[in-house]
C-alpha cells in the first residue's frame, strides 16, 4: 500500500524537476541579470538603459496596441469560427481543419504569407490597382508608413493566431449540454438571444483561457512583426532580441522582466474580469 501511495509522485517528479530547472530558474536568474552588475551588486543601470533606449517608447506602445486591438478583434472572429464548427453544418469537420491550419504554421512562414500579399508587387496592391482604388502601388510595409505597417502586422497576427482561440472556444462549447439551447429554443429564444443568455455565460472559463493564451502570445510577438514590418515597427520581444545580439544581454533581460511583469498583469486582469462570484457558482 505504501509503495502505491508513492507511485504518482515518482511519476510526476521528473517533469516537475525539469520545469523548475528550465522554467523556474531562468525567470529568477533573468531578474538577477537585469538588476545586478557583471561583477556583482545591485544596479538599476540596465533598467535605466532600457527606459532611455531610443526604441523603448515605440516598442511598449506597439505591444500594448497589439494586445488592445488583437484580443477583442480575434475573440469575435474566433467565436464566429467556433460557432460555425459547432453548428454541425455539412463539412464542419473540414472547416475545423481549415480554421486550425494557421496554428501549425511557424511565425516566419505566417509573416512571409503576409509579405506576399502586402509587398509593393503583392496581391493586395494588384487588387486595389485593378479596381482603380490605387493608381500606383502603396508601400504597406515601408517604415515611413507607420500606421500601415502596424495594420499589416495586426492583419498577419489575426490570421496566424485566431485558430488557437477558436480551438479553445469550440472545446468549451462542446461541454455545454445541448438541453440548455434546446430549452431556450422551446421558449422561443432566437439565435442571438441564445448566444448572449446561454452560450457566452457558460463559455466563460474557455473564453478566459483563450484570452490568456492570446495575450501571452501577443506579448512575445517577434518574428511575424519583424518579417512583415522590418525595422518599421518595434515590439518588446523584438527589442529583447536586438539588445541581445548587440551584446547587451542584461538590458535584454530587463526587457524580458518587463514582458514577464506585463504578462502577469494582463493575466490577472483577465482572471479578475472572469471571476465568478462565489454565490453565482453552480
Amino acid at each position: 500500500m505504501k509503495h502505491r501511495a508513492k507511485a504518482p509522485y515518482l511519476l510526476l517528479l521528473p517533469s516537475l524537476a525539469y520545469l523548475v530547472v528550465f522554467f523556474g530558474y531562468p525567470m529568477v536568474s533573468g531578474l538577477g541579470l537585469a538588476i545586478t552588475k557583471e561583477e556583482g551588486g545591485f544596479t538599476t543601470e540596465h533598467v535605466r538603459a532600457m527606459l532611455s533606449d531610443f526604441n523603448f517608447g515605440s516598442a511598449l506602445t506597439t505591444t500594448v496596441v497589439l494586445i488592445v486591438v488583437l484580443l477583442p478583434l480575434q475573440f469575435v472572429i474566433a467565436m464566429a469560427m467556433a460557432m460555425v464548427v459547432n453548428s454541425r453544418i455539412p463539412g464542419s469537420g473540414a472547416l475545423l481543419y481549415i480554421y486550425a491550419i494557421p496554428l501549425a504554421i511557424s511565425e516566419i512562414a505566417a509573416g512571409l504569407v503576409w509579405v506576399s500579399l502586402l509587398t509593393e508587387s503583392g496581391y493586395v496592391n494588384s487588387l486595389l490597382m485593378h479596381f482603380g482604388i490605387l493608381d500606383r502601388p502603396y508601400y504597406f510595409t515601408a517604415a515611413e508608413n507607420k500606421k500601415a505597417v502596424v495594420m499589416s502586422v495586426i492583419a498577419a497576427e489575426v490570421w496566424r493566431a485566431t485558430s488557437i482561440m477558436m480551438v479553445t472556444l469550440v472545446s468549451g462549447m462542446q461541454s455545454i449540454p445541448n438541453e440548455y439551447n434546446e430549452a431556450c429554443e422551446v421558449f422561443g429564444a432566437g439565435p442571438i438571444r441564445r448566444l448572449f443568455k446561454v452560450t457566452l455565460p457558460l463559455l466563460k472559463p474557455s473564453i478566459q483561457v483563450a484570452l490568456i493564451i492570446r495575450a501571452v502570445l501577443a506579448l512575445q510577438a517577434f518574428a511575424v512583426v519583424s518579417v512583415v514590418g522590418g525595422t518599421g515597427v518595434r515590439t518588446l520581444a523584438g527589442e529583447a532580441y536586438t539588445q541581445y545580439v548587440n551584446t547587451n544581454p542584461r538590458v535584454s533581460s530587463a526587457y524580458a522582466v518587463l514582458i514577464l511583469l506585463m504578462a502577469l498583469f494582463t493575466v490577472s486582469v483577465i482572471v479578475g474580469l472572469f471571476r465568478t462570484p462565489v454565490e453565482d457558482r453552480a
Binding site: L16, L19, I108, Y123, H130, W159, S171, S253
Partner: protein
C-alpha cells in the same frame, strides 16, 4: 413524436454557410497566393497584375532556396532538435500524464494548475538567462541547449494531452486484465498502450512541430549551428523576394499535413480551463 423529430432536422442555414465560407477563404487564400509565388518564375513575381496561377509553373526558386548556403544543414539541425524534444517531452510528460489520469493523490490539482499556468509565461523570457547559463556550463551555440529549452515549452502540453488520453481508457478494461492475472506491466502493454497510441502519437507530433516552428529561442541560443527557422530568419534581410516566398512555402507546407494528423486531438491540447 413527429414534432420532436422535425425539431432535430434543421433547415438549411445559408447564413451560417456564407460565414463559414468567408472565414475559410480568409485562411486559405493567403496560403494559396504564397504557393503561387513559390511556383512562379522570378520575373513573374514582380509583374502586374498578379497572376492567379503560376504560369509557367516552375520549381526554380524553390531549388534555389534549398541550395542557399546553410539551408540543408539547418534543415537537418531542425530534425535533430525536434526529435530530441519529442523524445524528452514524451519521457518526462507521459508518466506525469499517466499519474494524473490514474491516481488520486494530494497535490494533484496543484500540479495540474502549475502545468497550465506555464502558459501565462511567455517562453521568450527563458531564452536570455538560459543562454547565459548554457555558456557557463560549456554549451554555447549548442543544438542540445535549444532542444532543452524547447522541451520546457512543449512538455506541459504533453502532460495535459497524455493525461486526457490515459483518462480515456476505461478502468474496467484495466481491472479485467488484472482479474485474468495480467501484471500491471502486461496490462499496460496489452491494454493501455494500444488504446492510447493514436493520442500519444498526436502529442508527440505536436511537440515535434512546436520545436520545428520555434524561432526566438533558437536564434538567441545558436550562432553558426542554426535550426531552419533561425537560419531563414537571419538570412531574410539579404534574401530577394522570390527566395523569401520559396522559403516561406517550404516552411509552411508541412503544417498542412501535420494538422491532418492532430486535428482530432486539438481540443485536448488547448481545451483545458482553469477549473
Amino acid at each position: 413524436m413527429k414534432n420532436m423529430a422535425a425539431g432535430i432536422v434543421r433547415r438549411p442555414r445559408y447564413g451560417t454557410a456564407l460565414i463559414a465560407a468567408v472565414l475559410a477563404l480568409w485562411v486559405l487564400v493567403p496560403i494559396y497566393f504564397l504557393a503561387v509565388n513559390a511556383f512562379s518564375t522570378e520575373e513573374k513575381i514582380y509583374s502586374y497584375p498578379r497572376p492567379l496561377l503560376p504560369r509557367p509553373a516552375t520549381t526554380a526558386t524553390l531549388e534555389q532556396f534549398l541550395t542557399t548556403t546553410g539551408i540543408t544543414h539547418s534543415l537537418w539541425n531542425s530534425v535533430k532538435v525536434a526529435s530530441i524534444v519529442l523524445v524528452l517531452s514524451s519521457a518526462l510528460g507521459f508518466p506525469a500524464g499517466f499519474a494524473i489520469a490514474n491516481y488520486v493523490f494530494k497535490g494533484k490539482s496543484a500540479y495540474r494548475m502549475a502545468i497550465i499556468s506555464t502558459r501565462a509565461f511567455p517562453p521568450v523570457i527563458l531564452a536570455v538567462p538560459l543562454a547565459y547559463a548554457f555558456i557557463q556550463v560549456g554549451l554555447p551555440d549548442s543544438l542540445i541547449a535549444v532542444a532543452l529549452v524547447h522541451t520546457a515549452i512543449a512538455m506541459p502540453f504533453t502532460v495535459l494531452v497524455s493525461s486526457s488520453v490515459f483518462a480515456g481508457v476505461p478502468r474496467d478494461l484495466q481491472e479485467a486484465a488484472g482479474v485474468f492475472g495480467a501484471s500491471p506491466a502486461r496490462t499496460f502493454v496489452k491494454v493501455v498502450a494500444p488504446l492510447t497510441l493514436p493520442g500519444l502519437a498526436a502529442a508527440m507530433l505536436f511537440t515535434f512541430v512546436t520545436s520545428w516552428n520555434e524561432v526566438f529561442v533558437a536564434t538567441i541560443l545558436t550562432l553558426s549551428n542554426r535550426t531552419l527557422p533561425a537560419q531563414v530568419f537571419v538570412l531574410l534581410d539579404q534574401s530577394p523576394p522570390p527566395i523569401k516566398f520559396a522559403g516561406g512555402f517550404l516552411l509552411l507546407a508541412p503544417s498542412l499535413v501535420f494538422m491532418l494528423f492532430i486535428r482530432k486531438y486539438l481540443f485536448r491540447l488547448f481545451g483545458s480551463t482553469l477549473k
